[in-house]
């Protein structure tokens, strides 16, 4: 499927970028990421201008990268500052430097016309860098196109069937959703409020709630990359007060960054931020392991789907029902960003 260029994408969790060279391919563009001695994240094109050797397989010398093949050396702006055996550095000896913003614990890169890169348009996930929250995170590479992950996350009824025993219970698939599309802001909201639901192990073990719960799932998708799931868990019948803090409930902010790597591969960045048991390492370990398991269940399913799609005849006609209302809206906004624009179109 096609990519939406001239957009910000998450290339890494901040903690992944350090004094080692990190290779990532975003929208088909190979990048090398590292951090300068002063702590600034840098993203350069991962191909030496000389003979294309990947700079990610080279070495850092201070804040410069020395190509591991012939020694061409690049500074953090992508300018070549040394070539072997001669004094004159060719005018075209430089690699592309990508606009980078580190925000909310993510390293965002701009893919497209850098003159259009406006950091103010990057959607926020403030809980990931808020000391009042405890955060677990990870990244899973998918051998599947990014649209399959968008479909997956926009329709959480799949939790009941694919993630039973972790986050899925019968009520998720059984509860009607409300969908809103904010055309001006380009955001899709999907809301599923379960008044009386079984408490899945993911929340029973982490919150300590015994018995049934009131469970709210409020999705915000900011195409193309950022997906937020505001998860509210409370003992059954406990609702937010009209005024004041919702202190009788447990809140988890579940964040995904969906970054296309190639046409058929995707980076699935995930994070779970919680406002309860923030100092309890055992809860962190449990939620990390559980969400990793859930993500890998999705990865297995979506990798299978990618193979199915690759083998199917052209113009397979899929079927959409009520649960797909949010996913269809997300597809349309994505298509608009890519440059086309039909609802429910085949991939």
């Amino acid at each position: 499927m096609e990519f939406a260029r001239d957009q910000w994408y998450v290339a890494a969790h901040g903690g992944e970028v350090g004094r080692d060279l990190l290779a990532r391919t975003v929208l088909g563009e190979p990048l090398v990421l590292y951090r300068t001695g002063a702590g600034e994240a840098v993203a350069l094109a991962d191909r030496c201008v000389h003979r294309r050797f990947p700079l990610s397989q080279s070495r850092l010398d201070g804040d410069t990268i020395v190509c591991g093949y012939h020694g061409f050396t690049y500074d953090p702006t992508g300018s070549c500052v040394f070539v072997p055996g001669q004094q004159r550095i060719p005018r075209t000896a430089r690699v592309a430097a990508y606009p980078v913003v580190e925000q909310d614990s993510f390293v965002w890169v701009w893919i497209g016309d850098r003159g259009r890169a406006d950091p103010a348009t990057i959607p926020r996930a403030p809980w990931l860098a808020d000391p009042r929250y405890a955060v677990v995170r990870g990244m899973a590479p998918l051998d599947a196109r990014y649209g399959l992950l968008v479909d997956n996350l926009m329709d959480l009824s799949h939790e009941t069937y694919l993630h039973g025993g972790y986050i899925g219970t019968p009520e998720v698939a059984d509860t009607p959703i409300t969908t809103e599309v904010d055309e001006e802001r380009g955001v899709v909201h999907v809301s599923r409020h379960m008044d009386d639901a079984e408490c899945p192990p993911f929340y029973a073990r982490s919150t300590g709630i015994q018995g049934r719960i009131t469970r709210w799932q409020d999705i915000e998708y900011h195409p193309p990359c950022l997906y937020l799931l505001h998860s509210r868990i409370a003992p059954q019948g406990v609702y937010p007060p009209v005024q004041g803090e919702d202190s009788d409930a447990f809140h988890a902010e579940i964040v995904y960054a969906i970054t296309p790597s190639t046409a058929h591969t995707t980076y699935d960045f995930w994070a779970v931020a919680r406002d309860f048991a923030v100092d309890d390492e055992s809860v962190s370990a449990y939620l990390h392991q559980s969400n990793h398991t859930v993500v890998m269940q999705d990865v297995a399913a979506l990798n299978t789907l990618e193979r199915v799609i690759a083998a199917e005849p052209e113009r397979y006609q899929e079927l959409s029902i009520n649960i797909d209302t949010g996913g269809l809206a997300a597809r349309r906004l994505l298509a608009r960003l890519v440059g086309s624009g039909t609802v429910g179109a085949p991939r």
Binding site: V187, E220, D324, T325, V343, G344
Partner: protein, 68 residues
């Protein structure tokens, strides 16, 4: 749900207890449907066909009332 702040917001409510979707355009026009593809096409076709497309405020029928 976090309230969207834009002026042009399309809403689709799955009417509780039914299989019916109720689409509401930012212009106020409403339509009932039993599947989302045609409903989105109608919503996003604003203003085409929206001037006359309203449904009674007194609750929806048990099943689809307006063909897409």
């Amino acid at each position: 749900m976090t309230a969207p702040a834009g002026q042009r917001v399309y809403r689709v409510h799955w009417v509780p207890g039914t299989d019916v979707l109720r689409g509401t355009c930012h212009c106020g026009a409403e339509r009932l449907a039993d599947e989302p593809v045609a409903l989105w096409e109608w919503l996003l076709g604003h203003p085409r066909g929206h001037a006359t497309a309203t449904v009674p405020a007194s609750g929806p029928p048990a099943r689809l009332a307006v063909p897409a």
